[in-house]
Amino acid sequence: MRRNPNDLQRYSASERLNHWVVGICFILLALSGLAFFHPAFFPLTMLFGGGPWTRILHPYIGVVMFVFFLVMFFRFAKLNVIEDRDIEWLKNVNKMVDGDDHDMPEQGKYNGGQKVLFWGLGLGMLVLIVSGVMMWRAWLNLPVTAVRIASVLHAVAAVWMIGLIIMHVYAAIWTRGTIRAMLYGTVTRAWAKQHHRGWYRKMTGDNS
């Protein structure tokens, strides 16, 4: 797709690749995990070659996701430090949700909501990897009490994570001009000025 030379680069190819590896792993994990969480979703195991294959694959996909998530986490952690203006943004989030974002506080590369999402996903990922490994009977056989606690935490963290990702995906669909940032890396200047004015100034030197 042709791009406007004036568009702003938001993500490098490597960052996009990183994001999509994590995203694909997440989709596979959510489908296979839900299959084992609720009987209504057990037929999803068919997507992975049946029950035993789903049980075999799920934890390995989890490890792949964790590794790539970790890389992404360290790439973006600095940009997601929560500042005063983010807290101000979060206080006004109801206005944003209401569709009236004109007098929202100025935001850097990420807004308060994105930053909260970032740390929320980080926490979820940490709980998932630790509890998931504890439940991994192909390699480990921990005391049953530990596995029971891990099972509950794994389920809670997974639901937490899926909930956040629903929000994440919806926010990307809702905010027009966002998805292209994750597909081919750029956003329009107007988009940047509207949603991330601080970042727009930094990128363009335009202080209007």
């Binding site: 029950g51 049980r55 509950v152 389920a155 809702w174 329009t188």
Partner: protein, 311 residues
């Protein structure tokens, strides 16, 4: 052997009723193990091996009579020997318990199992694993309050005592019962076994075992394998038989309320998003800003504009 039997009370990971047109008119079955009559000969272990065609690889001797030392995927029942120094009487007592699946009325394994039909409970009370549906996740191990199911290293499927469901289905008693030389293992309807136990307990009480009683723990809704214990007040004396077994609250939370609640929450999040979109509309970049960028000459590229104009 599974659904065709038409007498399935519960099926793992299934939310609609399984085929249960038939139910035993004589009531649920039970195995009664009278620990006070057991001589620890292990004929039951051998009978179990023979009938089910199982052979456990020889292991290490731990200086006890326990052999093998624990249940395995190839040893569905194991005699456990405990030396108990009874301070009240000054006697050294040799407590022998036949360990194996208790066939709970409220089975934790079945509750935890994510695979439809991998664990079934027949209307006669027997809890059976159907390995063809087992995915090998080990959730049954997590669910069991008695530490019974074992996952095979070879095929990663779960195994345990079937209460010889194949024999019982054709009107025979489990192999261990048939073979027990002292009559310490009995089999019949649950009611008959409780009556039998009551008489035996009365007898034991008269002979000085004041705390003799029946082990049929309420916490799991009763079991279809019951013990007559001389020390029914302290079941844990018998190789850690749980005093008050229940399905762990962790498992109940995980496989109980959290399932529908979580599904509801995620469904609401997805549906809420859609409703938000159709009520508030998309969050578009304002026309004002786009015009501003165009004025600066950094908006939509001239090339794109040309393309739009020349189809």
């Amino acid at each position: 052997m599974s659904l065709q039997s038409l007498d399935i009370m519960r099926l793992s990971a299934t939310t609609t009723p399984p085929p249960q047109a038939r139910s035993p008119q004589s009531g649920e079955v039970a195995k009664l193990i009278d620990v006070s009559k057991c001589i620890g000969c292990k004929a039951c272990q051998t009978a179990c091996m023979e009938w089910n065609d199982l052979r456990q690889e020889p292991g290490e001797c731990h200086g006890t009579y326990d052999n093998p030392t624990d249940l395995t995927e190839n040893a569905w029942t194991v005699m456990k020997f405990t030396e108990y120094d009874n301070e009240a009487t000054g006697n050294l007592e040799w407590l022998i318990r036949k360990d194996g699946c208790m066939h709970c009325a409220d089975p934790g394994c079945l509750k935890a199992c994510p695979s439809p039909g991998a664990i079934v409970q027949y209307t006669n009370g027997i809890v059976d694993f159907h390995e063809e549906n087992c995915v090998g996740c080990g959730y049954c191990v997590t669910g069991c309050p008695f530490n019974v199911p074992r996952i095979s290293k070879k095929d990663h499927k779960a195994y345990k005592c079937t209460l010889c469901s194949d024999r019982v289905a054709v009107g025979r008693e489990p192999a261990c019962v048939t073979t027990c030389p002292t009559g310490a293992i009995m089999f019949g309807t649950k009611k008959a076994m409780k009556d039998q136990a009551a008489e035996r307990i009365k007898d034991l009480n008269e002979r000085g075992f004041k705390e003799a009683g029946l082990y049929d723990p309420e916490g799991v809704g009763g079991t279809h394998v019951m013990y007559v214990l001389h020390h029914a007040d302290k079941p844990s004396l018998y190789a850690n038989l749980p005093d008050a077994p229940t399905i762990s609250p962790m498992v109940s939370l995980w496989k109980g309320v959290s399932k529908p609640l979580a599904m509801f929450a995620l469904g609401a999040a997805a549906l809420g998003s859609l409703f938000h979109y159709i009520t508030k509309g998309p969050n578009e970049v304002s026309k004002e800003l786009e015009d501003e960028m165009d004025a600066k000459g950094v908006g939509a590229s001239p090339k794109q504009k040309n393309e739009e104009m020349t189809p």
